[in-house]
């Protein structure tokens, strides 16, 4: 099982990589001891979005399906958590609300994905349909300000936002502040490791093969539609996890978390980071979120313009992603330093990348 942590589908292997990984993890674990609670809360906020970015990386980078619908499933699980937590009461029931809301998002992804994939929708049309579904949900929720729009005792509240749900809790203990931060770090480690194992497994081989050449994959006996649906459901479930954690973190959610500007953000994070590698997406998304939040303190408009400029720069200058590009340079340099004879294979790889772009 552990050998699946390393493989052709993931950058980074060997003692050096895993030593760096453990060093970063150790740094993350001791960070709350040296930071004030405001900064720890901010870090928790950045980490919330990482799940959505990793999910899109799986779908787009590995599966070749550009979904513009990450915030659709973010919203379904976010509102789902609110509705369930309000109706089921606080305490440990919030954990059930979290799990159920992610499950609901995955079921919704299964239904939408089934009709799209079995209907033969692919390429740019996949993005168009998922974006349309996202906008439908955002517009629908935007007109639910009236008191008649409620589920049980939970009012949807239109653009005023749904509020009144409890944060995650175990019994009387609220998972907030440093506790929430540690839960986030643990979840990210679990999700990151699990995704590495998935993409390096035989299932991951077929997911990547389907991205590369779906007809050839089918002619090797694989029903590529099932693999695409699995990828879509897992990726959407991770967006749902972000959504449920977001609502729990802020005890608040509005339709603007789902609409067009919000839907574009995961695309920017993953494109800038490097969609074809989980580690690049993890690191790049965190850096972008940190930068975005820092600039937003001074000007939200400037932060949005910067995100647009970064997307443009990525498409023009580094279509494979900036962080991934830097990562590959480091790996190439390290490989040449250790084994000078690996040059030709790496040169072939680089040449093909350039040809494709």
């Amino acid at each position: 099982m552990l050998k699946l942590l390393e493989g052709p589908q993931t950058l980074g292997r060997g003692k050096v990589f895993w030593s760096c990984f453990l060093a970063v993890l150790a740094g993350a674990l001791i960070y709350p001891a040296f930071a004030d609670s405001y900064d720890v809360g901010n870090f928790s906020y950045f980490l919330i979005w990482i799940f959505m970015a990793l999910g899109l990386c799986l779908m787009w980078g590995y599966g070749g399906m550009l979904s513009f619908g990450q915030t659709l499933f973010f919203g379904i699980a976010g509102y789902g958590y609110g509705v369930l937590a309000i109706n089921m009461g606080g305490g440990t029931a919030t954990i059930a609300a979290l799990v159920l809301s992610v499950f609901v998002a995955m079921v919704a992804a299964g239904i939408l994905g089934y009709f799209m994939i079995w209907g033969g929708i692919s390429g740019i049309f996949f993005g168009i349909v998922t974006l349309s579904a996202t906008l439908v949900l955002a517009f629908f929720l935007g007109q639910t300000a009236g008191p008649e729009w409620h589920i049980g005792t939970a009012r949807l509240n239109g653009f005023n936002g749904m509020k009144g749900m409890d944060p995650l809790a175990v019994g009387d203990f609220y998972i907030e502040g440093s506790a929430l931060y540690y839960v986030m770090v643990a979840l990210i480690v679990i999700v990151y490791i699990a995704l590495r194992m998935l993409v390096n497994s035989s299932v991951g081989n077929v997911i990547v093969a389907t991205r590369e050449n779906p007809q050839r994959a089918e002619m090797l006996g694989y029903d590529v539609r099932k693999y695409q649906l699995l990828t879509f459901v897992v990726g959407s479930g991770l967006a749902g996890l972000s959504g449920a954690l977001y609502t729990s973190w802020g005890q608040f959610i509005t339709p603007s978390s789902i609409g067009l500007p919000a839907a574009a953000m995961p695309i920017v994070w993953v494109a800038f980071s490097g969609r074809s590698d989980l580690t690049a997406t993890l690191v790049g998304s965190f850096l972008l979120l940190f930068g975005f939040q820092t600039i937003t303190i001074y000007s939200q408009q400037a932060a949005l313009v910067l995100m647009g400029a970064l997307l443009l720069a990525t498409v023009m200058l580094a279509p494979q992603g900036f962080v991934l590009g830097v990562g590959r340079l480091v790996v190439d340099w390290w490989s040449r330093r250790r084994r000078p004879d690996t040059g030709p294979a790496l040169a072939d790889a680089s040449r093909l990348q350039s040809d494709e772009t």
Binding site: P8, E212, N213, Q215, D223
Partner: protein, 239 residues
């Protein structure tokens, strides 16, 4: 005993009838070549048999099972294996991983590694196994795709112009490879233009012309048919 039985199959694209009322049987254990001039409908018939096109009319049976409406993956699971006309490999993945993806459903662990090595050596791709498939030459990509098709251990190997882009030496070697797998019991259906290759491998030949069956039989019979020589081979080749 027929392994593939095509009964009255037609395929129309708008006003064009590419394949018209074709009956074709491929018997178990034979190497059957499908030949004909450009535009005869060979590739269309091939795609109908592998499931890339649904027929407008008619039925296709594999091992007595009606597969007319099955998708290609289901036909592969029944025992077909397919090599397309243009090299169809996973270009951004290493050569070894291409073979792994083909093997992984049937082999695991050390057995899979051994089979990978055997195929890579058989196909002369072992020295390039860490290269990306897209960095191979056209001929090597053809070999790789043939290797992926063979990795499935099929009952029926379907090859659409397998030697396109290969040197005469590579073409001959491909023919010998096909004959060796046929000797082990594999049935092979080949669509091919290269008559030297057809002579090397064919046990039975079907000639298509304008979407219809024009002639069928042994290669010797076909070569002696004046009408076939006129439409396809050129009279000089017939004798």
């Amino acid at each position: 005993m027929p392994l593939v039985d095509v009964q009255g199959v037609s395929k129309r694209f708008g006003g064009l009838t590419a394949v018209s009322d074709v009956d074709l049987t491929v018997n178990s254990g034979e190497v059957h070549c499908l030949i004909g001039p450009n535009g005869a409908g060979k590739s269309t018939l091939f795609k109908l048999i592998v499931g890339l096109y649904p027929p407008t009319k008619g039925s296709i049976y594999f091992d007595t099972v009606d597969i007319t409406n099955e998708r290609p993956y289901a036909r592969v699971q029944r025992g077909m294996s397919i090599k397309m006309q243009a090299p169809s490999v996973f270009k951004e993945l290493p050569v070894r991983q291409n073979i792994q993806i083909a093997l992984q459903e049937r082999f695991s662990g050390p057995e899979r590694s051994a089979e990978e090595d055997r195929l890579l050596t058989l196909l002369n791709l072992a020295p390039d196994s860490d290269k990306l498939a897209g960095a191979l030459s056209h001929g090597q990509q053809q070999w790789l795709e043939i290797g992926m098709a063979l990795a499935l251990k099929p009952q029926l190997l379907l090859l659409d112009e397998p030697t396109a882009g290969m040197s005469p030496e590579e073409t001959f070697k491909t023919g010998e490879l096909i004959k060796s797998f046929n000797a082990e019991g594999m049935t092979v259906l080949v669509v091919e233009h290269d008559m030297a290759f057809v002579r090397q491998v064919a046990q039975r030949v079907t000639v298509l012309h304008l979407g219809k069956i024009f002639a069928r039989g042994s290669l010797e019979t076909i070569l002696q048919d004046e009408k076939v020589a006129e439409i396809y081979l050129g009279k000089a080749h017939a004798h």
